[in-house]
Amino acid sequence: MRHRCLAIAATALLLLTSACTVERQWGGKTTAGEGGKAKVGLVTKTDTNPYFVELRAAAKAAAQAQGADFSALAGQFDGDNDGQVRAIENLLQQGATTILITPSSSTGVLDAIGRARSKGVLVIALDTATDPDTAVDATFATDNFEAGRQQGAYVKAALQGAAPKLLMVDGTAGSTVDTARHTGFLKGIGLTDASPEIKGRTPANGDQSLAQQGMENLLQRTTDINAVYSMNEPMGRGAYAALQARGLVSKVAMGSIDGGCEGVRNVKDGQYAATVMQFPKKMAEQGVLAAVEYAKTGKKPSGFINTGSAVITDKPLPGIESHDTAWGLENCWGGQK
């Protein structure tokens, strides 16, 4: 009985799959370069982070405005290479002409990207570069080293000539974005990783509560500090909570990076002195425009295209180009403005 049932189920399955087979290439039909309609697929690292939500919303709006088909997929967590590969495969199956991707790891999805490109699909990395960067057709992203350098230069100016006594709240060890921001910051403030001016560092994986915890532990060691680096705004908020508990807020210049609306409000409220804004909306819009152009003419963009970054602060300092928080709130991403 049991075996008969299984046999029936298996046969039904086979019949079902073989009877309705359609002639179709893996990857669908690409109509690029024939004045065709763009089919844009977006693959983000996750679909819950407000940064990627903004990126997705901007790409969707741009695609609608351009009359392009749009489909957004994501990994389940940062580092979910398998989920991103699956997303790329599913987009190919749906016949995407362009794939915009924020790679979870700079090397994890290169194989799948290679397969997509060999089918004639345009692949553009958004936000995070691949390694090597030639694995994709083009990269539209923030120059994270430059964003870090801007933060470092601002904090240096805020110290007004005093020698820095610095605590660093880093992101995920080894991630390319984090490394670029970290080394950029040190360049901006005029230190190196070996400088004795660095009084302590803690990795916090971009997580607010981990940053608070890490900062509390660092402050057990020394409270004689005047500068704090935070790799992104949630971690900046965590570090602020720890500084506040120790009554150190007024003695410390802290900077951050991201330009989320909550981060800009943190700057306005004085939680940290400045943040460096990046522009996910620009990345998404330019990516979609490139996709539409590719579908129409077959022309592909190439190389690294910097979408820019800007210092946001209400305490402008000489020698540092910056915008105030009112401008920041108009241009920020994620949440109410």
Partner: protein, 323 residues
């Protein structure tokens, strides 16, 4: 039991005897729905793709099935696999075969340690593997220095790169190997004394002991065999994504449990089959692929998968109570 009584048995009793039928029906139903509602789902290439997408979790779930059959559970299987991928990637320079063997030996050793703690010191598998999971997750990050390691070695990549056509369907060696492993474990569970012991130990350990089964030795062997399978899952993972990433497969342990439970295996042990697990893993992959092609948001896909899991557990409960 005669055919007569089987035919007269209630639906519940039938499901208790053939737990793979439910998930098989769910799989067929899902395939029919997606074939009718999208133009891209029913396509040999796509179906082959769905199978490929379910390979790693499907292999993890095969080992997990054995453990759950003994009324145990393994929360550390995916992290053991990730550690193995990192070890394989690091040793790739000294030859793919060596790297593969060392990686698999490591997961076997982890299985042996867990099995010993569970049988000798009588610790609950849930707690032991939770602790091991935490240690392995951190070890993976330490091993990698936080950075993913690309893998190019031919032997390590072999399961993912080598394809052949079978009646027009692209098949990878990874799929073939997974199918073979399922067949071997199915045979071992249904046709050998060892398999009968595994079921007996999960069903009623005390009666198993009284009837002369070496309970501890059986459970230990299950963790070791499962460890071996998790090592093969690591090989599958590198075949699919040529990058050993300490942050990968954070939900792999839960995904494997999902596949096992959807496959009709009882979390209380003693009831279930690897055939069901195979269907369970495929159901999840089919849902993901089909819903994606229908344009359903990934978060709703999670809701659907979770709901299906709850239904499967309810069915398990009802069936057990009635039978």
């Amino acid at each position: 039991m005669t055919t007569m009584t089987r035919d007269r048995a209630s639906v519940g009793e039938f499901l208790l005897r053939a737990p793979a039928v439910g998930p098989a029906l769910a799989l067929v139903a899902a395939i029919i729905v997606f074939s009718l509602s999208t133009t891209t789902f029913l396509d040999l290439d796509n179906l082959s793709l769905v199978v490929e997408q379910s390979l790693v979790v499907g292999t993890l779930a095969l080992g997990q099935t054995l453990i759950i059959l003994t009324a145990g559970i393994d929360l550390s299987n995916a992290s053991a696999m990730v550690v193995a991928t990192l070890i394989m990637a690091k040793l790739a320079g000294s030859g793919g075969i060596v790297a593969l063997i060392v990686g698999v030996l490591v997961t076997v050793a982890i299985g042996a340690v867990i099995g010993s703690l569970v049988t000798r010191i009588k610790l609950p598998a849930f707690i032991v593997t939770l602790g091991v999971f935490t240690m392995l997750t951190a070890s993976a990050k330490l091993l990698a220095g936080g950075q993913a390691i690309p893998v190019a070695d031919g032997v390590l990549r072999w399961l993912g790169t080598r394809r052949y056509l079978f009646g027009g369907i692209p098949i990878t060696y990874g799929m073939t190997l997974a199918l073979l492993m399922y067949l071997v474990i199915w045979y071992a569970l249904t046709k050998t004394a060892w398999g009968k012991h595994v079921y007996a130990v999960g069903n009623a350990p005390e009666s198993a002991r009284l009837s002369g089964i070496k309970v501890n030795r059986t459970i230990l062997s299950v963790y070791v065999v499962a460890g071996f399978i998790f090592g093969i899952a690591a090989w599958q993972a590198i075949g699919r994504v040529p990058n050993a990433d300490p942050n990968a497969f954070q939900l792999g342990n839960l995904d494997s449990i999902t596949a096992v439970v959807l496959g009709g295996t009882s979390l209380f042990g003693g009831r279930g089959s690897v055939l069901g697990t195979l269907f369970g893993a495929l159901v999840v992959a089919v849902l993901r692929s089909g819903l994606t092609q229908m344009g359903v948001d990934a978060l709703y896909q999670d809701v659907a998968t979770g709901a299906l899991l709850v239904v499967a557990v309810i069915v398990d409960r009802v069936v057990r109570r009635k039978a």
